[in-house]
Amino acid sequence: MIKFIRTVDYLSETIGKTFGWTVLVLTASTCYEVFRRYVMNDPTDWAFDMSYMLYGALFLMSGAYTLSKGGHVRGDFMYRKWQPRTQAKVDFVLYLLFFFPGVLALVFSGFFYGADAMRIQEVSVNSPVGVPVWPLKMIIFVAGITLVLQGLAELCRCILCIQNNEWLDRGDDVVELETALQQQFGKSEEGHKA
């Protein structure tokens, strides 16, 4: 079970970090477009499509990575005071009740939505160059799959935690400079995790 969790975590992390690079491409293409538009007075016809596509892919594909690091926003003022075992029980039930219906709906309806777009080789309406838009629609389906996998891993985490009364660690993540500074200043206050 731990091996499964680690594998899925690794997969989500790889996907999340790979798509993280899109922000760099997004910055570069936007800068290039600004340059073309305002300096050369000759705007490109693909930059607008490119910007929202990169953003859409980034925002949907990082969902599983965020879940694997426990980064989704929780209203956890009661949650954090409970025993890990209680937390895991509540999470387990709510994952089954809430997470999977929603995410499975994303997978199935996203698949038909994307498949329709792929069948007609849908292109963007925003410019005459015909930027293909169906890969972006297909991403809904792919992101749904990654979320389902990560959700199964989270269920396994809950089961392990109910057995051991202790959460399995989530591996190292990028540390914010403030945390790094805290370590540097030797202060062990509660981490400022949002």
Binding site: Y38, S51, Y52, Y55, H72, V73, Q87, G102, L106, F185
Partner: protein, 270 residues
């Protein structure tokens, strides 16, 4: 059950499950689908023919190609770079050195740093924590009143969401379908006014009661030219960023107008 009652039940359940501590994104998603499936249900229809699934993907896609929300990842990326570059530290140091003759110099420097930083980042947490680590220890060491020192940092940090560009304004603009540029323009004056009032308050209190903020003794007595040099080197990267930031919303507005001329007035088509 009548429709308003169902809506109330949905709201109530939503609050209950948020309080249970489940991630808000998934709670919202499941609530929307379950209640939507109930609302769109027509007798004799298979579950997967329900309209809600179509609406669900439609809405997901409309968030994915929202041209206002693009700025959020870019924004975070910029904040990340500023954070790693440690500009805040240098800014505070140089301001503190150049303002050393002003009453309550460190508190004033902390406030100005917060306000300047608010023009570069759009969130509250980061500035408060960083200033709490950088400015608070030196203020307390210099014998500043604890209430004044912590209050200055907490108040200064919240300028982040008021002084544009701010993530809160972008999200609001995207949801309500109003212009980001107009919102930012509207928040500009109150933000600067508030920062100014904070400054006036701190200086006045220190003038009335100098024991609140004694002059730090161990500040290097640098010359005027050296202070100018410090300020310029610390400000330049931030000034460049601020200049760029104020170009981008304008560019985005033109971009929308060129591509979809109706967008400025009708807002988001959701």
């Amino acid at each position: 059950m009548s429709d308003p009652i169902i809506a109330l039940v949905m709201l109530g359940l939503f609050i209950v499950f948020i309080f249970l501590g489940f991630p808000i994104a998934f709670t919202l998603m499941a609530m929307g689908i379950m209640f939507g499936a109930y609302a769109y249900h027509t007798p004799g229809q298979a579950l997967f023919d329900n309209n809600i699934f179509y609406l669900f993907t439609q809405n997901t896609f409309s968030v994915m190609n929202n041209d206002v929300l693009i700025s959020i990842p870019l924004f975070l990326f910029m904040g990340y770079i500023i954070e790693r570059a440690n500009i805040l530290d240098r800014l505070f140091e140089s301001l503190q050195v150049s303002l050393r003759h002003v009453p309550g110099s460190m508190a004033v420097a902390a406030l100005i740093t917060c306000a300047l930083f608010a023009t570069a980042t759009g969130i509250v947490g980061a500035v408060v924590t960083l200033m709490g680590l950088l400015a608070l220890p030196s203020m307390l060491k210099a014998g500043y009143d604890q209430k004044l020192a912590t209050g200055v940092i907490a108040a200064g940090g919240t300028l982040g969401i008021l002084i544009p560009p701010s993530i809160m304004l972008i999200v609001y603009a995207a949801t309500a379908g109003v212009s980001v540029v107009k919102l930012s323009a509207a928040a500009m004056v109150p933000g600067i006014l508030l920062a100014g009032l904070y400054l006036v308050y701190v200086v006045t209190r220190v003038v009335i009661n100098p024991s609140l903020a004694p002059k730090p003794k161990d500040v290097d007595d640098v010359g005027f030219l050296k202070a100018v040099q410090l300020l310029v080197t610390a400000f330049l990267p931030l000034a460049a960023l601020i200049a760029v930031r104020y170009r981008i919303p304008q560019r985005r507005e033109y971009g929308i107008n060129e591509v979809k001329p109706q967008s400025d007035h009708s807002g988001q088509q959701e």
